[in-house]
Symmetry: C2
């Protein structure tokens, strides 16, 4: 399912193209660049993919394949709603926090995706996770907000933490702990669950 009938060279092409597209974007990468990374000429790429746009789409598909299989198991382990929230946050961090390439690709697609590529991201990642986490979201929303907005808020908090990194690291008060994914998961879970109201007792 992951690589449906790709030849060895085709896989090498996909894997070579992904870091390039992630770092410099679609327009910033030439077919020559990809070919050079693989160790062939640009013309040879066309034996495996019909053109640049197809190659980009297949690379995106390849990158986002099979990233969502772990959520159900992760959520089963958690007992109370607080730790279920914490698991959901950890899940997003595992997908997008650790993988610079996946995160950059998503970020670029948020600006440039056409309908077809949006569908890909939705079907492969966001809709499955939405369905699997909906129960927890409803439980956490608890009638005060809706699960749709909460889903986006949680995802947004995780994504923006890494996305804002170039700015964050140049702001006063940076600490080494802010780069630790476990610490960030704790921070976000605490922030969302306990809130900021100072009239409440500290956890």
């Amino acid at each position: 399912m992951n690589s449906p009938g790709y030849s060895k060279t085709a896989v090498k092409i996909l894997e070579a193209s992904l870091p390039l597209f992630a770092a410099r974007g679609y327009n910033g990468v030439a077919m020559r660049d990809i070919a050079q990374t693989v160790g062939i000429t640009a013309a040879a790429l066309y034996n495996h993919f019909s053109g640049k746009e197809t190659l980009y789409f297949k690379a995106l598909e390849y990158a986002f394949a099979g990233k969502v299989n772990t959520l159900a198991e992760e959520l089963e382990v958690a007992r109370d709603s607080r730790s279920r929230l914490r698991r959901l946050i950890s899940f997003w961090i595992e997908i997008f926090g650790g993988d610079v390439i996946l995160r950059s690709l998503l970020q670029r697609e948020m600006s440039d995706a056409d309908e077809q590529r949006l569908r890909l991201l939705l079907d492969r990642v966001f809709l499955p996770v939405y369905e699997e986490s909906k129960g927890i979201l409803v439980e956490l929303a608890h009638g005060r907000t809706d699960e749709h907005l909460l889903f986006c808020a949680i995802l947004g908090l995780v994504l923006s933490h890494f996305q804002l990194a170039p700015i964050r690291r140049r702001l006063p008060g940076t600490r080494v702990e802010h780069e630790d994914v476990e610490g960030i998961a704790d921070h976000l879970a605490r922030l969302l669950f306990d809130g900021l109201d100072p009239d409440r007792s500290r956890a």
Copy 2:
């Protein structure tokens, strides 16, 4: 201060280039495209800007100039910490929520900015706002988290709400209210201030 000695044509060039750069990115826009929008030829652009990279930088500078002047007054009006949080969220929404161009430019810079352009964004926007809102952030953090992370979380929640819009609108449970900026500000303020803990009384 806003346009330091730019000629009328130079301003027209800057203003014509911004929507293009925002929509298609640096590599996606040709000097000819900008010239055509202004109504001149590409060669004439070089009488006003020394090259494409300079034009892009000046356009960025022009777009982000004088966006941060309103914060101090806005925060003075608010009395309690809850409404100060709400004001801070509204401030970010005013800057980035209403202006697709500014938001797209920022989003692209988060992926592609070099050191010089990051400094521009920091000096013009993020450092001033950080300094002006630091007091409130410390008050809101209340010893449970640090103001640095809280600053990023609030900014990230606002940015990601708009940034994730193409995905959000294709997820189940979308409502028209989710496009209303006041409603979003309320939602985010409530989420951050009250938290998700179901054991607490509803506001």
